[in-house]
Symmetry: D2
Subunit: 289 residues, 4 copies
């Protein structure tokens, strides 16, 4: 990591990969990195006993170009049948945020993006309502009002897909977007759409969950951020948060506290995704945080 | 609270009550306390909008005897149709602990009781196995081995009931007791038996919950301490705790961490019950902690 | 609390009081409330053994006017030498926020106020810089730029005092305001100005605290919200929060995480103050949360 | 990791190392592991920008013997000027626990060791008092009473050193041992003695810290587990924990809650040390947890 004064300026990269576990993976990858004049600054590996998969994330610097580094790694990746990605550090994930009327999560994401702690660009906000348009305007993010009715749902998803294509969207964040996406869209967004929902111990099925939680007198309320799958709210979990509550809180106050927790869990999940710290291991995630 | 030098030594009491909410409750109770020369040291009240019940807990001192104070309060309690209890401070709740093979929760309770932070006496430990007998012996608590087989369950519960009667048991703590109590016993123990079980977000039904939690990659695991009802694991919640885990923990490690959290939640619930801080409001608890 | 159909509409009030502890306080207060046709919905009392003071907070409803209720309570308050306040529920605390360049805490407060979870009005934001003016504009709050230089400090504080008088300010929140207030102003604002600052275990003196915390490899970073006193950062603590960090976080990342925690602790402290849940007990606070 | 049926049974190892950061470290280490037929199951690396050091921890399996693996790694270690250790997985750290009268931390450690969640052996408990002897007896651990008086301190430390030598002690845990070790002993135990002490925000100097914390009305109390250095309570931090408290807790109750937190922080620190997850980076620790 200590560069000699006459070395060319180094670029920072992040490599993530997963593959069937077998001997020699780290050695092969590090050989490719040495060949690319790479210096590792932070790295983590994990072999999953259940799925027999191996996971690796490497932050490194190299004086070579992205293309040169990519080429060095490609042969190794191929030899080990890796799923892999090479990211330029500092390149921000192009993120589309969807929301409905509640602005808590959206406000959190926009503020953190602006403050520089969330490495994403937000070229678009999509909503089925108009309430959050002023917030989008304040942050200078184009706001797309795409209303959804039972008979226009297909059409609305077509507009969303078109927008994603046009804007090169890499990540979709459902920041309290209160419409259910179609199975087709969920499948197409697999691994690149993050949703947030409330979580309780015990869990409550059906409508008005905070009223149910209040009626049971729960002492903790929580939130789960997860990847979207067609199985509603059952996708791989990225992050969870809870806070303590007591009997004196009304259902409405629980819901307000819940939205705080949702904002925190969602922001963390988006940050970890955007920093390429989340890898999929079947139905669960490996988070190199 | 500042007693004059020649005042008789004051006794400390705790009063708890609940009744249908209407004007004048606090005034009537405080009038009775004034009549009993009582000085309030800590108190809390809460009116539950959902159930229309009013809850009150008062710590106070008085130079009068327990019987005298009781008499002063009885008329008020009757006039307002109160459920109420008057406790001598420092009188320890007679507690029977039931456990099976896992000693984590039992060890916590015994250690805290011995250290003086848990205001209970433990005249008996009941187990359907023998593994925990040495731990009971170390703390000098009589250990009762009551094995349970499908055809001896009634008999076992009869022995338990006899033991409870003989020892004047006021509270039963199920500290990882892995047998299901009969509906009759659950009903008879209503409000004076505390159980602990694991809790997750989302919750998992069926066997091997930590394996399920591991397979879903949960980021938090928790525990819920609750009063026993005939509806298994659905009784009024007293306390909940969680801790953070990550992908590298095996199902066995999750279970070990889970037992830590269970021990903490159960100890707190027992403490609050024994300090008369928990009142029942239908399916939920009011905890004046 | 269950009003008869023909009763006049009830108003909700909050009463807070403290006085030297002696028998009969609760009884006298509840007698006044009965005389005012008051119904208690939530209440808490606490006698402080150290200072010999008694503290009480009561939420109640009454069909009487504020003036009538106030009159009923005044005689009791006088008899017990109480410090006391009677608040109309729903009346929002008039709050002036001061900030410098960092917007995290300000953004939190503005969002929560707008969302209705923080019972305050914000008639003014004061800053010694201009960076946060657009945020104030977005929320429609008048922004007052009052620069501070060593030789203009008195003048700046005069402008602040004039603004507070003109706007009937009841609470000042220092939301990362990086100027030290004069001793005179601190004294005048005693009990009605809240500050936020970072907190660590162990604590670090002097400049660049997050660099010091990083150098020591702390595993938790925190924030403390407290009342302003002339003894810098040593006023009565209202709320504290922490989060977990690890060795891989840089000092800059620690500072960013720290500002999250600061925002949370400050918002809670402001909420509790505005809900009249915080009472002063010498150098410490009683928080009836 | 997937072994062929006729492969020799693999042994599990943990390698930890640190060295001056430069290119090729991971590659060289992984080459040695490949040469030793090693399969990595979990691994983490970190380059510390402040100290210019690189840290690595690798869990791996190999069919070779400890000596063979050690030989393969030794050349690489030498070439990169590494501080390094190779541990057989499952080999338990030989740990001597020192305590005085308070048994909370000791009880936690003994219970967890017995339960199998703490990979240590405890061949001796040393105390300057006799109160904890029965607890040691219950767990079958030899108890050594080494009283300490001002004029016998040297002698007491000589006995301790002799005991450590005789029992091949690798780790000393000060589990609320209320005597200050000499500078010489602290230096000799550097990196292999763990202490626990209370921590507050703000911190309090001098005697009776819980009384000071109570007088300031802190809302959180905590504990810090750290390596012993001659600079009292200022050694590299391994783990920190906090819990929430409120105004109603007395100083004695704060101290009881504090001992819970101390037990938790200390147990975690010992676990991580014994799992070879803690590496020293100057005044701070890298914890690969």
């Amino acid at each position: 990591m200590i560069s000699s004064p006459d070395a060319p300026a180094a670029n920072a990269f992040t490599l993530t990969l997963s593959c069937p576990d077998r001997p020699g993976i780290v050695h092969a990858v590090s050989a490719s990195l040495v060949a690319a004049e790479g210096n590792i600054t932070e790295s983590a590996q994990f072999g999953s006993p259940e799925t027999g998969s191996f996971f690796m994330r490497v932050d490194f610097t190299s004086p070579r170009s992205y293309e040169q580094v990519h080429t060095e790694l490609a042969a190794t990746a191929s030899a080990f049948a890796m799923s892999w990605e090479l990211h330029r550090a500092g390149r921000r994930t192009r993120t589309l945020i969807m929301a409905s009327k509640s602005g808590r999560c959206l406000n959190d994401l926009l503020f953190r993006q602006r403050a520089g702690t969330l490495p994403i660009d937000i070229p678009a906000i999509v909503s089925n309502h108009r309430e959050l348009e002023p917030l989008a305007d304040f942050y200078g993010v184009p706001f797309h009002h795409i209303p959804v009715a039972p008979d226009t749902k297909d059409q609305a998803e077509d507009r969303l897909r078109a927008l994603m294509a046009e804007l090169d969207i890499e990540l979709v964040v459902l920041a309290r977007y209160m419409q259910i996406l179609s199975n087709d869209l969920c499948r197409d967004l697999s691994g690149r759409a993050i949703n947030i929902h409330h979580s309780f111990l015990p869990s409550f099925k059906g409508a008005r969950p905070y009223h149910q939680a209040h009626a049971r007198g729960v002492k903790l309320i929580g939130a789960t951020a997860h990847y979207v799958t067609s199985d509603l709210d059952e996708g791989p979990i990225i992050e969870q948060e809870v806070i303590r509550v007591d009997h004196a809180r009304s259902a409405a106050q629980l819901a307000a506290l819940g939205s705080d927790v949702e904002g925190r869990a969602l922001s963390k999940a988006v940050q970890w995704h955007a920093e390429h710290r989340v890898l999929l291991d079947g139905r669960r995630t490996i988070v190199f945080s």
